[in-house]
Amino acid sequence: MPTRLLDTLLVLAVGLLAWQGVHWLAPDAVTSPAGTVARAAEMLASPRFWPHAGETAWAFALSLVFAIGGGLAIGLPLGLHRFSAEVGEPILVSLYSLPKITLYPVILLVFGLGLSAKVAFGTIHGLVPVAIFAMNGVLALPPVYARAARALRLSRWRTLAAVLAPAAVPEIVTGVRIGFSVTLLGVFIGEMFSSQRGLGFLLMNAIGLHDVPTMLAIILMVGAFAVTANAALLALEHRLHHRPA
């Protein structure tokens, strides 16, 4: 799709121009795109950078596994039972609207400083959207799927695992996409406070030292990762909603 590619490039170019413009207006607060990329390249080449990136990646991967696993474990059974879903949905939604940052001191007290607190904080961010989308995905399925499964003598568990869950996959992927970005947010916030390792820690460190190029370089790298992953999930979602391709 050449037009799609052209559009993307156009958006990128406008973004870079705007960035450069802000740099001219406030050179002390924002490094130029070229300067940021140079600093990022420098960091990527430095052996001291990789343990931090690895720490963040590991914490994020664990959080994502817990958020998706837990979200499906909560959302799919709720979706099976309309009454439970009606009770569960407002609880999930109000949990989601809770400003989770206020819970961070509690999480630190429970899990202590380190990896487990970050993972817990990332997980509570991502779990709820995955659960809500999985629940609604199952609720919205035509009732005839469950009836057909019963007529083919499937157990309740096989009905869920072999029919309802696959049927709800497009919705689940949407939940995972949204869960993905908020889990990343949670892990990052977790690293920014009371952490000695990870990209969030590097970012806070750079803010403390007023090392603007490093700040911007970390933001660029994390942002590029998040945008790419989101685009990939969005493409997958698109394919699933309009299957078969």
Partner: protein, 286 residues
Amino acid sequence: MTVRPLTRPAAATAPHEIHARLAGVTRTYGAVGGRGGVHALGPVDIALRRGEFYSVIGPSGCGKSTLLDVLSGLSRPSAGTIVFEGRPVDGAVPDGVGVVFQEDASFPWMTVRDNIGFGLRENGVDAAEIGRRVDAALALMGLRDFAAAYPPQLSGGMRQRVCIARTLVMQPRLILLDEPFGALDAQTRLIMGDELLRVWRETGATVMLITHALDEAAMLSDRIGVMSARPGRILAEIETGWPRERDSRIAADPGFGAVTSRLWGLLREESLRAIGAQAPAGADRA
């Protein structure tokens, strides 16, 4: 066309051997402690003979689909008993009973082939046997060229064939169909009716078809149970007397007009009542 039979041919049996029986079956919805609720069905008594094609016809909302639900074991009756091959049916679909629904129940994320083999895989049939049965069903339902397609690429009639094939590979001895052609256009319905007759002959299964179409019931059935407006009861059972080898061209038979006019004679009052019963007065509330 020779196709490997999907069902064991019925053994030489005594005429009118009873294959499934409903006795005093009723269904009430939403009743709490025996009061209130909607009396949807019955009491109904039907004895299905082994190998016959039985249709149930009735006005809209008379409980036809409820009847199929309780007979198949998909839901429990409020009262009465259901027996299939000598064993009571209670809250689960027994082995040997297949159900085809009005709605499209094909799974859009599986190919036609995988859809048809789905029930067999879930019931632990070995792969070679699944392959054989699916191939036979693909041939029987005219789906051979679409084995690798996904249901959303097919027409409504083809998708319903996939659902019928998925039921047939389980080798049901009793096939229950709930207005399976309701969503299809008139010509496709006639063609599908002919195919259903062919399947019925080739498998030797007992068939119960729920329909609201007079001509469909008259064309396809050995016997037709005519239901009353809600709560549905069997008003009369009509024998068509058609030969086993038949198709939709039976509509040209002089007897066909006699059957449909008899059906309409029984149904006209009930259909009027069904429409009238939608007025606010809930005459059938206990």
